[in-house]
Amino acid sequence: MNIEMSPSLALVLVVGVLVGTGVYLLLERSLSRVIVGITLISNGVNVLFLIAGGAAGGPPLIGATDPGEMSDPLPQAMVLTAIVINLGLTAFVLAMAYRSWQLHGHDEVQDDLEDRRIARRAALREADSRADDVGTDLQTEAAEARDETEEAPAGTPEAHTPEDHGGPITGGDR
């Protein structure tokens, strides 16, 4: 049986464009753009699965199509699973972005502690060429350090306090 395995150029281009734009958006700071990016990439990968399944044929139903002309049902099943998983995870990231907006008035991914610490030390060094602030601890530094995402632009809603079901939770409890 001679199986046509060279993929359709249109599908390959679709994958390239979807994944490319997705990667671009993934590199943004705003979580909502990151979500769109992830969705685009996953859809690109779903199309890649269709390519992996080979040339399109008839519906893979016994009796409806001759087995030799069926399209491969396995990648379709896998794409379905991947779509469902992606739906759930997108919902979670959306909830997280919303929570971030509740807390900070924006949904931008902040610098991690180490980055902020380094930036702060560099600033100190510049200020008085003396940066041996070994005595302060991480929590104080984290509280004091600022990064570009923390200056809430004018007109954004005020940060809400954690609601009572969330509780004032500190690092040690759960």
Partner: protein
């Protein structure tokens, strides 16, 4: 007895549903969780005996024959990983139940904690048991989704910040894994691991290298191998102590397990062994140098976690029976010791009110038992004889010297240096938190005995692995030999040459 194989996945999932149904009654939830995880532990122990005496146990799900249907496979490696993970999951569960009792369960969203925790357990078991690449992906997604919820529990600002990085990086690694699955399917027409093991050697070597790189990239992000490890020390420390403990113990090891499977079963030509070896050396060094610079006990432990992943990758990259065996031994040791250390860090935080080494002090005076357990675990992590960390490291070093190539010897040297620096980092933590006078008086609290108990038990299991070191090494030797021989696994899954034992008619030779 193959009906035992799916239980580690099914039982926690069913229990998760039950726990969600009784979400208003935390006592009932606790009972359900403990019962489920204990069952998993019992099944895993049964599986370890079964696989050791009767070879790999295979279940064709839904009775569909293997290459078409999904296979669940428990071989020596899977069974051992299941036992250790169930043990750790049970211990951490006991710890968090005690924490819930001690805190009175007020103000924390506990209703979803137990269901999510059980789903995590199911995902971990599924990843260990999966005999199918796509099923492995689903297992990863289950445990990742559960870990997202656990990491951002309560939704405080710091956890959302750390969580967003963790979530985005994890999603990226999943996408990479998914891309490699699609490419592997396109190249071979199957995703069954046993059949892949037969078909991948026939694929053109350039394409095979590409597939291997894609797959290893996805796994290496999950396992936190340098340079793909930067997410870990940033995200883990912010989660609640029991959550961090179970993540540190298990999630990265699932990635390491997947790398072992890929390197032993799927890609055996060893073209990337040197690359892995260099990555292992870099992981050890960069991780431990990060740990030395930390002044927060949880961050310090997170960096040592990254560093010690390097040891396991080192053993895998040697591609020898002894290296692989030592690597598996090291995984067992490291799961227990790292979990114990994070649980102890949680207790330190409770007792001292902070995890900053600058503010802690004199804990050895006010909490001597805690000090003793921390000291033992820390020495175990650094590899002081005669504890299990020493046995694991000596096995890896031996394997490295046996291999004898220049790069392997560099790895041996790095392993020794890392061990020394680990000792320095943990002794620094011990001095500052336990031995020195506290800079300011510590809060007047007590660590609940019920929380100390599980931490102490896991820590002593970590130390006592040394007592069964001989038999365990025999077992890991057998496991490594099986893995490298490949035939036990393949023949167990594809009993009839090209298809499994299922009843499905017309498997059509497994052409997908």
């Amino acid at each position: 007895m193959t009906w035992l194989v799916p239980l580690p996945v099914v039982v926690p999932l069913v229990a998760a549903g039950l726990a969600l149904a009784v979400s208003r009654r935390s006592r009932a939830q606790g009972i359900i969780s403990v019962a489920a995880v204990s069952t998993v532990l019992a099944v895993a122990v049964a599986l370890i005996f079964l696989t050791h005496t009767a070879g790999p146990q295979v279940v064709d799900v839904g009775d569909w024959a293997a290459p078409v249907g999904i296979a669940l496979v428990a071989d020596r490696l899977s069974a051992l990983m299941l036992v250790v993970s169930a043990l750790v999951i049970l211990g951490v569960l006991a710890y968090s139940l005690a924490q819930g009792l001690a805190d009175g369960n007020d103000g924390a969203p506990v209703a979803i904690y137990h269901p999510t925790y059980l789903v995590l357990a199911a995902g971990v078991s599924m990843a260990f048991l999966s005999g199918d690449l796509f099923n492995l992906y689903v297992g990863f997604e289950i445990l990742l989704a559960a870990s997202f919820v656990l990491l951002t529990l309560g939704g405080t600002g710091e956890r959302i910040r750390a969580g967003s990085i963790y979530v985005v990086v994890s999603l990226l690694s999943s996408v990479l894994f998914l891309v490699s699955i699609a490419l592997i399917y396109a190249a071979t027409g199957t995703l069954n691991l046993a059949q892949l093991a037969e078909r991948l050697p026939e694929v053109d070597s350039g394409i095979r290298l590409l597939l291997q790189i894609m797959l290893l990239l996805g796994f290496a992000i999950k396992a936190a191998v340098f340079p793909l490890s930067a997410w870990l020390p940033d995200s883990y420390p912010t989660a609640p102590a029991p959550v961090t403990a179970v993540f540190a113990g298990l999630l990265t090891k699932v990635g390491v397990y997947a790398i072992i499977r890929a390197q032993t079963l799927l890609f055996t030509d060893g073209v990337l062994d040197d690359v892995l070896l260099v990555a292992a050396i870099a992981t050890m060094l960069v991780g431990i140098i990060g740990a030395v610079a930390q002044e927060d006990i949880k961050r310090l432990l997170s960096f040592t976690l990254v560093s010690h992943i390097g040891y396991m990758i080192f053993g895998i990259s040697l591609a020898s029976d002894t290296g692989l065996s030592a690597s598996i031994f090291y995984i067992v040791h490291h799961i227990t010791v790292q979990t114990a250390l994070f649980l102890i860090a949680g207790l330190v935080e409770r007792r001292g009110g902070t995890t900053s080494l600058e503010e802690l002090g004199s804990l050895a005076k006010v909490a001597p038992a805690l000090g003793a357990v921390f000291f033992l675990s820390a020495m175990n992590l650094a590899g002081i004889p005669p504890m299990s960390g020493f046995l694991g490291k000596i096995g890896l070093l031996q394997a490295g010297i046996q291999t004898g190539s220049g790069l392997a010897l560099v790895g041996v040297g790095t392993g020794l240096l890392t061990s020394l620096l680990t000792l320095y980092a943990v002794i620094k933590a011990w001095n500052k938190a336990f031995w020195q006078e506290a800079p300011q008086p510590l809060p007047d609290t007590r660590v609940p005995r019920t929380m100390f108990g599980p931490a102490a038990v896991i820590a002593s299991v970590g130390v006592l692995i040394a007592v069964i070191g001989g038999p365990l090494y025999h077992y890991t030797d057998d496991a490594a030999r099986d893995l490298r021989a490949r035939t036990p696994y393949i023949e167990a899954v594809l009993v009839h040459g090209d298809r499994g034992a299922g009843q499905s008619s017309d498997a059509a030779g497994g052409d997908g």
